[in-house]
Structures are given as C-alpha cells and as structure tokens.
Symmetry: C2
Subunit: 131 residues, 2 copies
C-alpha cells in the first residue's frame, strides 16, 4: 500500500518532477481529480452544487503562470501541458502534500480561476518530495 | 460554512432522502465525485493510475441492487436513476458519513463493481442523517 494513503494500493510514486509531468497514466487519473476539486470550487462560488470540467486551455495557461512551462521540452501541445498540470495536481494529493480541502480553497481564493489553479500548481511543485 | 466540511461553503443539505435522490444539482457534482472514486478503485485493481467514467447503466443497476428503486416514482428513466445514485453518493461524502477512502475501498472490495457500488449506496443510505 502506498505510503500515507489508506485506500490506495497502486504504483503512483515517480522519481522526479519531469517524470510526473509527462506521465499519461497520472494525467488520466488527474483529469478526474481536477474536475472534482474544480467542481467544488465552482460550487462554493455559486452557492449550490455543480459539476463541471476544466478546459485544457485553462490548465495550460495556469501551468505557464506557475512557471512550469520550462520543465517541458520546447515542442509541446496545449493538450500535453494540460495533461502535465493534471498529473502534478493529483500527484500532490496522492503524496498528501496538498489536501483536497486546501486545493479547493486555493482554486476558489482568486477571482480568476486560472490564477487559483496556478497557485495550486506552484504550491504543489514547492511541496512535493520524491523517493 | 457547511457543518463538518472545511473548504465547502455551498448549500448542500437536504431535508430527506427523497429530496437528495431527485436533486439534479447534487447529481451534477456527484457525477464528478463518483468518477473520481471509481477511477481510484479501478486504479487499485489495475495497479496503476487510471481515470475513467462510470456508465449510467452501472449506477442504475447498483441503485436497484441496493433496494433504492422503490424510493423513486414508478416512471423514471435509467438516466434519472443514475443521477439519483450520484446524488446520494456525494451526499454521503459531503455530510461526512462515508469518507472518500471508505468509498474507494467499498467499490473495489467486490469482484463485481456493480456490487461494490451497490454496497456503497446501501451504506450511505443507512448512515446519512438529515437536519
């Protein structure tokens, strides 16, 4: 069972930040996680429950604002950058560096949701550690 | 701020089970939540991260197995029943009656995922309380 995660018993640890950012399996799980925390942040803003999806363009822009674009090779599509953002955000949650509650609060804290996601990405990058 | 939920400040409480089951706003948020916990359960089963979506037919079948079909009016589509399942599952999490970890473990416990979702629905129904 992965360290610190009670109900999770799959191999999610990676050796460094670059491995996280280009991992399509993590990005796939991250898509579900990011949509959920984003939905909670939007629900808070609206005052009632709502499920929604984060656009890839929003995630790619947040990644750039967080200064993480330089961690990728030069020729990457917006889709690849969005995948990287999803992979990193869920890695922060899996490794218990950033909780779900904190993530929702950070996304919703800023009037601009790109800014909120960008702060979450920057915080996750600062706090994650590797084996 | 809703009782027991640190980062959540939207109106999610309902007066009774029937109000939960027919609430489209809760179902909309529930869709994002159920896809995430289901993805974690599937990741555990596969041994590596994977994001996936639960089919409406699977949720409707799980709801029937949990004995919850009788809580709905007679003429309901499979889509309505799936929405009811999503609304109830997220209500259990919002009200802190069933944790995310418990939910993932329950879904993955059974070889048949419909059975796992059905047990989660039955447990949520048993444990939720109303204001």
């Amino acid at each position: 069972m992965a360290k610190g995660c009670r109900a999770l018993c799959f191999a999610w640890t990676r050796r460094n930040l670059n491995e996280v950012l280009i991992d399509h399996a993590l990005a796939s799980l991250g898509d579900a996680y990011v949509n959920f925390i984003y939905s909670l942040a939007i629900s808070n803003r609206k005052g009632s429950p709502l499920g929604t999806k984060v656009k890839g363009s929003v995630l790619a822009e947040a990644l750039r604002k967080a200064g993480l674009r330089e961690c990728f090779p030069s020729r990457m599509s917006r889709h690849d950058l969005a995948d990287g953002a999803e992979a990193l955000i869920v890695y922060g949650w899996l490794s218990r560096c950033v909780s779900l509650d904190e993530s929702v609060a950070m996304i919703g804290m800023k009037s601009d949701l790109v800014e909120g996601l960008s702060e979450l990405l920057a915080k996750t990058k600062r706090q994650i550690t590797f084996p």
